[in-house]
């Protein structure tokens, strides 16, 4: 697999002596849980949406039949909700501890979109079209913020409708039955959106685009090389350098073991995801 591009990148990586922490251990653990439960929900849910196709039946069979698949789906969903709640709690507790609510909603490290994101979109598209320099991004780019809020929105829409469908007797104590029709519709449509988005756009942006191919292990190792940080997150690098805070986030290079682990886990996720997309898109076309 050592194509010239990969070899070149590896050479660059080893040349860059310095690494910085981008994601801490809790971030990485949460992403891992989110990733596993998301794929779990996707693989066990997609057979219902695509029930007309033979592969859906085969997939449900591989997962132990649609009943077992239903159990896996609910377990994954419950874990995902716990991860989500834990993340939100962590964000708020951090702000509370630092007594800095402004940093949470309006700063260079905030997840809340700001004016720079708007400018970045325009500049990035101009760069795509060969009409300008590539914008210099800060800690979180506009597409990363979109991914983040898409998960938030999805959590409420898919999670909420999923809970309605999971506990219909409880909810029918105070809700009319037709909400289950709405819930079935939005659960499936939003799931298609999420699955389609994560397994194509997110994978491309984060991993398979030519600069990163076959994948970016940062979410598994937590470490980003100085070279990559300058290239992809110049604003953040400069900001940290100016403030003399670079050394605080400096880290040892990722160990080969962790790197290999990341490649295996991430690669499996990418393969499963892309296979799901191929099946879904194939079903639409054929």
């Amino acid at each position: 697999m050592a194509t010239p591009a990969v070899a070149a990148r590896r050479a660059l990586r080893s040349a860059a002596s310095r690494y910085y922490v981008r994601f801490d251990r809790i971030d990485r653990t949460m992403h891992a849980f989110l990733m596993i439960t998301f794929i779990g929900c996707a693989l066990t849910g997609v057979p219902l949406l695509e029930a007309d196709h033979a592969w859906a039946r085969a997939l449900a069979g591989m997962l132990g039949g649609i009943r077992t698949a239903g159990i896996i789906h609910r377990v994954c969903a419950a874990v995902m909700i716990v991860v989500f709640v834990a993340h939100v709690a962590r964000v708020f507790l951090t702000a509370l501890r630092r007594r800095n609510w402004l940093e949470l909603v309006w700063s260079s490290t905030s997840m809340v979109p700001n004016l720079k994101d708007g400018r970045d979109i325009v500049a990035h598209v101009k760069w795509f079209l060969g009409k300008g320099e590539r914008p210099r991004f800060d800690r979180y780019t506009y597409w990363e913020k979109f991914d983040y809020w898409a998960v938030f929105w999805g959590m409420f829409i898919i999670g909420g409708s999923g809970l309605l469908l999971w506990f219909p007797f409880f909810f029918s104590l105070f809700l009319p039955g037709w909400v289950f029709n709405i819930a079935t519709l939005v659960h499936g449509e939003e799931a298609l959106l999420a699955v389609g988005f994560i397994f194509t756009i997110h994978f491309f942006n984060g991993h398979v685009r030519p600069e990163k191919f076959p994948m970016d292990p940062v979410i598994f190792t937590g470490r980003i090389s100085e070279h990559e940080m300058k290239e992809e997150r110049g604003e953040e690098y400069d900001r940290l350098a100016r403030g003399g805070r670079l050394s605080a986030v400096e880290a040892s290079p990722p160990s080969p073991g962790v790197l290999a682990f990341g490649y295996v886990i991430g690669g499996t996720a990418v393969i499963l995801g892309i296979a799901t997309i191929v099946l879904i898109v194939g079903s639409v076309l054929l």
Binding site: L48, A51, R57, L165, W178, L185, E189, I201
Partner: protein
């Protein structure tokens, strides 16, 4: 009574033949014939075997009556032995009523139209080995009928060449609930229908004949001959009422159950197949059912969630507007509670056939569907284009970098 009369007549004919036969000398009536034909290797000039096993013939109904060979082979004379080719045997000489009925059967009609393979008397009853129908050894006894009819209707080669309707109907019957009950020697084996129970024997008329037992209009009566209660319930259903109003497209027994592949109603395979059967007429209802959890799970082959009849009933199906219907406003809660014991009045406001594409079916569902469509379209259009453009640019950049790296002299690179 009629059988006794026939036996007496046959015995008389036999005796007369015996008395008139010039070669009669106190031995068996057929000894002269069997002198040649009794030899197992006896062949006609054409090479065709003309052997007759004396034991088989004496065990047949005709043999037991001591009928002479010439009773059927009427143009053979002792004056000319060995004799040449003979006229075909005329069963109608004695069995005139059966022969008359045969003419209106599908086999008789086909023969009259020049079909040379349609079954005649001997195909079903045999020749020298004919036994009484009640005799277990008869080719047309209940136990043997599958094999006898199956000689043609269970033989894929014959079915293909003669273009027999329905395909391998005997194989289908064999695997059906009726065939299984017959072959598994259950207590029902003496009651379950065999081929002739539904099709008749000498009144086996073509389906298009209004007098046929299997004509569309007569099927409920044919099946109802055994399944009286089911027929009575069906007659009260929307399907039965439509039939009484002469709407012949309304389903009778075989439209849902099939004719020859009838399955137990509690088999998953049948429950799932029944959904498709209902959908052949109620296509729009099938579509909307498939959009629900019930429809998706059954589509994946699990029959433990609601299928059509779980809610609508089977033979007693009635429109929602009928107070007697299982899905009427009055009965709906009880019907849902059949599977969902904790269901309440709110719960049953769920629409088990939601149509998200029709505004009248529910404004909120319709507009939610439209919103979701737009959301998906918007996100995928924006990020799809974004990704394609990005990919194109990145590829170019990476290629340029690679070209630059190659341009650097090797000494500096290493």
């Amino acid at each position: 009574m009629r059988t006794t009369m026939r036996a007496v007549l046959c015995a008389l004919a036999g005796t007369a033949a015996l008395l008139l036969a010039p070669w009669a000398d106190g031995a068996g009536p057929n000894d002269t014939c069997l002198a040649c034909h009794g030899d197992a290797s006896a062949k006609a000039a054409s090479g065709k075997s003309v052997a007759v096993d004396p034991a088989v013939f004496s065990g047949s109904v005709h043999g037991s009556l001591n009928l002479p060979c010439t009773g059927c082979h009427t143009d053979v004379s002792a004056d000319k032995i060995p004799h040449g080719p003979q006229k075909p045997v005329e069963c109608a000489t004695c069995h005139d009523k059966a022969a008359q009925q045969y003419k209106s059967t599908i086999h008789g009609l086909a023969r009259a139209q020049g079909n040379a393979v349609a079954a005649t008397c001997a195909n079903c009853h045999g020749t020298h080995d004919i036994k009484r129908v009640a005799d277990a050894g008869s080719k047309v006894s209940r136990a043997n009928l599958e094999a006898t009819c199956g000689a043609c209707h269970g033989n894929t080669d014959v079915i293909r060449r003669a273009n027999l309707p329905g395909g391998n109907v005997v194989a289908m019957y064999h695997d059906s609930i009726h065939g299984r009950a017959l072959n598994q020697k259950t207590s029902a084996k003496d009651a379950v229908p065999v081929c002739t129970t539904c099709h008749g024997a000498h009144d086996m008329r073509p389906r298009a004949d209004p007098q046929s037992r299997v004509a569309r209009a007569n099927i409920p009566d044919t099946c109802g001959g055994c399944h009286m209660n089911v027929k009575a319930r069906w007659e009260q259903s929307q399907h039965g009422k439509l039939r009484q109003a002469h709407v012949m497209q309304a389903p009778g027994c075989t439209d849902c159950h099939s004719a020859h592949s009838i399955q137990r109603h509690d088999l998953d395979q049948w429950k799932l197949a029944a959904i498709t059967a209902c959908g052949t007429c109620h296509a729009d209802r099938l579509d909307t059912y498939r959009d629900t959890f019930h429809g998706q799970v059954t589509r994946l082959g699990d029959a433990r969630v609601a299928t059509c009849d779980s809610c609508h009933g089977a033979h007693e199906v009635l429109p929602e507007s009928d107070p007697m219907s299982r899905v009427s406003a009055q009965n709906r809660l009880a019907t849902c509670q059949g599977c969902h014991p904790k269901a309440n009045a709110n719960f049953v406001q769920y629409d088990p056939h939601p149509n998200r594409h029709v505004r009248e079916a529910g404004m909120l569902l319709f507009y939610t569907g439209k919103f979701m469509d737009l959301l998906l379209l918007g996100v995928f259009a924006f990020f799809g284009l974004h990704t394609v453009l990005w990919f194109y640019r990145s590829l170019k950049v990476v290629r340029e970098q690679r070209a630059k790296a190659r341009a650097v002299p090797p000494s500096e690179n290493s």
